[in-house]
């Protein structure tokens, strides 16, 4: 295992993190920022899960054959709870955006900033 294959998932998580981060910074729409952060987060999930992978191993469910090698379940556990936590935190972020929409009538960060400037004396 040399060359590109040795780091295959690493390139994917790098790409996902960067795409997500770009969206979170560059896109003025607040919902789009939340989606971007979600993608950033899944990039980190790919990093963790690929750490747990071993060539020649199988899913960590006991097979009965004592020679079986299993994938490392620790990253799996960390990430499966993180996925459920991520949907919960996304829901809180979305409800904050609902309140922002109610207060400002828009969900674009630049328009909100403009409204804030207008309000100042």
């Amino acid at each position: 295992m040399g060359g590109a294959a040795a780091h295959l998932p690493h390139w994917a998580y790098l790409a996902l993190m960067l795409v997500g981060l770009y969206a979170a910074i560059a896109k003025p729409n607040l919902a789009k920022k939340v989606l971007g952060l979600g993608i950033f987060q899944t990039g980190i999930f790919v990093f963790y899960i690929s750490l747990g992978f071993k060539f020649g191993a199988t899913a960590p469910v006991v097979t009965g054959d004592p020679e079986t090698v299993y994938a490392n379940p620790l990253p799996h556990v960390l990430i499966l709870t993180a996925i459920v936590v991520s949907v919960s935190t996304m829901a809180v972020a979305l409800s904050l955006i609902v309140l922002i929409k109610r207060a400002y009538g828009t969900t674009e960060a630049d328009e909100i900033a403009a409204l804030e400037v207008e309000d100042e004396p």
Binding site: A5, I39, F53, P60, V61, P73, K101
Partner: protein, 355 residues
């Protein structure tokens, strides 16, 4: 080698979908793309032998979060404004700089799939040994890590989910139970009358409530029949997944989400009031806390029995076989997790669609 080619293909699709999600101007389209992204992710997890994660991703990512985003978009509007330049140069430079640094750091990362990587030594070597199986009697080697060895971690993850549900209630719930005058005052408060403001009746219509012209999907013969047939099985399957986390992929997190999915399905087809007949608001509010209390209570019980916090071996009915205590303890905390997750997911969904 075939596996690697498949993985490369899947990851390429995943990255392409992520770019599509970010670029889509229509946020409904972005949400659908994100759902596809999640399904591709679930396949990737399976290929990487993370079956429990795949299970969670399929139920949460492709199911609950898609519905939740739709419900939010109905309220906040589904289009980005057009008056923006396509490229944000400072962000691009920052992202490229970070990417360069991380790529440079990859030089030193252990090769993908190396069975001797540092991450597989020490405690992890125990987690994948048959010793762990004999200690916990859990065929699924991920479950004892989740519910037993890292039980504190999972307890607080559950508390975070509970807190998120609480935050949703505090942010979005109206005090309809308050005095009638107060309720009227809220009702008179007009929504922002922007030209592009979202029609407030839309979400009501989505749920077929008397407020708007009811869509009433429940009258659609195919939908109502399928929904009525499927829902009991979904609930039973959810309970099975919660209680059989030791035998195969599954556990409280996945099972809880599956049960909440049954609630969401009933709400989508027959309206939220109908779904609330199965799970009244007061019940879901209480159950969200009960799950955490069950989990924390198991820890206090083991302490009362003379052990340390969450030392399940103390729960063994037969002291000669502490594995029985492990099974009992893990099943109990998985049930606690399942109850909290199901209740909070139902709360999150209903607070988001109710206006």
């Amino acid at each position: 080698m075939n596996e690697l080619a498949l993985l490369a293909g899947l990851l390429a699709l995943v990255v392409a979908t992520a770019v599509g999600t970010v670029q889509a101007r229509n946020l409904y389209a972005a949400t659908i793309l994100l759902g596809i992204y999640s399904l591709l992710m679930a396949l990737t997890w399976t290929l990487l032998h993370a079956v429990d994660v795949a299970f969670t991703e399929a139920s949460v990512g492709a199911g609950v979060s898609t519905i939740l985003l739709f419900a939010a978009l109905v309220r906040i509007g589904g289009r980005e404004t057009e008056n923006q330049s396509n490229l944000h140069l400072p962000a691009l430079l920052l992202v490229l700089l970070l990417g360069g640094l991380l790529a440079y750091g990859l030089e030193d990362a252990p090769a993908f799939g190396d069975p001797d990587a540092p991450v597989h030594r020490r405690a992890a070597a125990f987690y994948t040994s048959l010793e762990s199986y004999h200690l916990s009697h859990s065929k699924n080697l991920a479950t004892p890590v989740l519910a037993s060895y890292r039980g504190y971690d999972t307890l607080f993850e559950t508390a975070v989910i509970f807190t998120a549900g609480l935050a949703m209630i505090l942010l979005l719930r109206k005090e309809s139970a308050g005095s009638p005058a107060e309720a009227e005052e809220i009702a008179e408060d007009p929504p922002a009358a922007e030209p592009d403001a979202v029609d407030p009746g839309r979400s009501a219509r989505l749920l077929g409530r008397p407020g708007g012209a009811p869509r009433d999907l429940g009258r659609h013969p195919v939908l109502s029949k399928v929904c009525k047939t499927v829902v009991p099985f979904v609930v039973v399957f959810g309970l099975y997944v919660i209680t059989h986390g030791e035998l195969g992929p599954g556990g409280g997190f996945q099972g809880g989400v599956i049960i909440a999915a049954a609630f969401v399905l009933v709400a989508l087809v027959f309206g939220l009031p109908r779904a609330r007949q199965f799970l009244p608001r007061a019940w879901s509010d209480a159950l969200a806390g009960v799950g955490v209390l069950v989990y924390a209570g198991v820890g206090l019980t083991t302490m009362a029995l003379g052990g340390t916090y969450l030392e399940y071996a103390r729960l063994a009915l037969d002291p000669e076989h502490p594995a029985g205590g492990q099974t009992l303890g893990m099943t109990l905390v998985e049930m606690g997790v399942g109850v909290t997750v199901a209740a909070v997911m139902a709360t999150i969904f209903s607070e988001m669609v109710e206006d």
